[in-house]
C-alpha cells in the first residue's frame, strides 16, 4: 500500500468515525432528555452511564488496553488523556449547570460553539502539528450557525 493510499484510508476512517460520533451524541440527546425527565437527575444518569459504558469498553477492548499498559506509554500521553477526561467532565458539568440557570434555547447554541474553541486552541497548542485553513474555519462557522438554527427549530 502506498503512502497516498494509507493517507486516504485514514481520512476515510477519520471522517466516518466523526460522523458516527455525531450520530451517537445526537441520538443520546434525544434519549437523555427522556431519562432526565422520567428516570434520574442528569448528574446521576451521567455518572452511572459512564460507569457502565466504561465496563463495556473494557470488556470489548481489554486486550488492547492491557497491551498499551504493558508497553507503558510516556507520562505525557497519560497526562493529556487524563486532562481530556477532566475537560470533558468539566464541559458536561457546566452544560447541566447552565441548563439549570437558562433555557435550552440559549444554552444549546452557546455550548454548540465548542468547535470554535477547539479551532482556537488548535492554533495555540497544536501549531506545527495541525493546519487550520480558511475553509476549515468557514465550515466550522457554518456548522455552528446550522446547530443554532436547528435548536431554534426544535425548541
Amino acid at each position: 500500500m502506498t503512502q497516498e493510499q494509507i493517507d486516504r484510508r485514514d481520512a476515510l476512517i477519520g471522517y466516518g468515525a466523526a460522523i458516527g460520533a455525531a450520530a451517537c451524541y445526537g441520538t443520546l440527546a434525544v434519549l437523555g432528555r427522556k431519562i432526565a425527565l422520567d428516570i434520574a437527575p442528569p448528574l446521576v444518569a451521567n455518572t452511572f452511564s459512564m460507569i457502565l459504558g466504561t465496563l463495556v469498553l473494557f470488556a470489548i477492548f481489554q486486550s488492547q488496553i492491557r497491551a498499551d499498559y504493558k508497553v507503558r506509554p510516556s507520562r505525557k500521553g497519560w497526562l493529556f488523556v487524563a486532562l481530556a477526561g477532566c475537560a470533558s467532565t468539566w464541559g458536561v458539568t457546566f452544560w447541566f449547570l447552565a441548563l439549570g440557570k437558562a433555557p435550552a434555547v440559549l444554552v444549546a447554541p452557546l455550548a454548540g460553539t465548542s468547535p470554535l474553541f477547539a479551532l482556537i486552541m488548535t492554533l495555540i497548542f497544536l501549531r506545527g502539528v495541525e493546519r487550520v485553513t480558511i475553509r476549515t474555519f468557514i465550515g466550522t462557522l457554518m456548522v455552528i450557525i446550522g446547530v443554532a438554527l436547528i435548536t431554534l427549530g426544535i425548541e
Binding site: A21, P73, G77, V81, G85, P115, A118, E130, I138, M142
Partner: protein, 140 residues
C-alpha cells in the same frame, strides 16, 4: 447572563478535551485513551453525584440501570471511542466541527421518529450544516 457564561464555559471544556486528546493520542491507542479519560471522568462525576444526589442514587429503580446501560454504551464505547479515533486520524480542526453537528442527528430523529414537524429553521439549519461539513471534508 450566568447561564450563558456557564454554557460558554462548557463549550470551552469540550473544545479543550479534543485538543488534549489529540496530544495524548500520539502516545497510545484511542481505546486506551478513551478508557483512561473515562476513569478520570468517573472519579469526578461520582464524587459530585454522591455529594449532591446521595438519596437519589439509593432510590434508583432496576429499569433505570437498563437505560444507563443503553446510554452508556451509546455514549462511551461508541461515541467517545469514535470521537477519539477521528481526532487521531484527521485531527481536531476537522473532527471537532463534524462531531459538533450532533444536533443535526437529533433533529433528524425528532422529525422521522419523534413526530416533530419539519420547519424552516430545521430545514435551513440542516442545509447549512451539510454545506459546512462538505467544505471541511472537500479540502485536500
Amino acid at each position: 447572563m450566568l447561564g450563558a457564561a456557564m454554557a460558554l464555559t462548557a463549550a470551552m471544556g469540550f473544545g479543550a478535551a479534543a485538543v488534549f486528546a489529540r496530544i495524548g493520542l500520539q502516545y497510545m491507542r484511542p481505546t486506551t485513551g478513551a478508557f483512561v479519560s473515562l476513569l478520570i471522568g468517573i472519579a469526578i462525576t461520582l464524587t459530585l453525584a454522591l455529594v449532591f444526589h446521595f438519596d437519589d442514587i439509593f432510590a434508583l429503580s432496576g429499569i433505570a440501570f437498563v437505560w444507563f446501560l443503553i446510554t452508556g454504551t451509546l455514549n462511551f464505547p461508541l461515541g467517545r471511542l469514535l470521537n477519539f479515533t477521528s481526532v487521531n486520524k484527521i485531527g481536531v480542526s476537522r473532527s471537532a466541527p463534524i462531531i459538533g453537528a450532533a444536533p443535526l442527528f437529533s433533529g433528524i430523529l425528532g422529525v422521522t421518529l419523534g413526530g416533530e414537524s419539519m420547519n424552516l429553521f430545521i430545514f435551513t439549519g440542516t442545509l447549512v450544516i451539510i454545506g459546512g461539513i462538505a467544505m471541511i471534508v472537500g479540502q485536500k
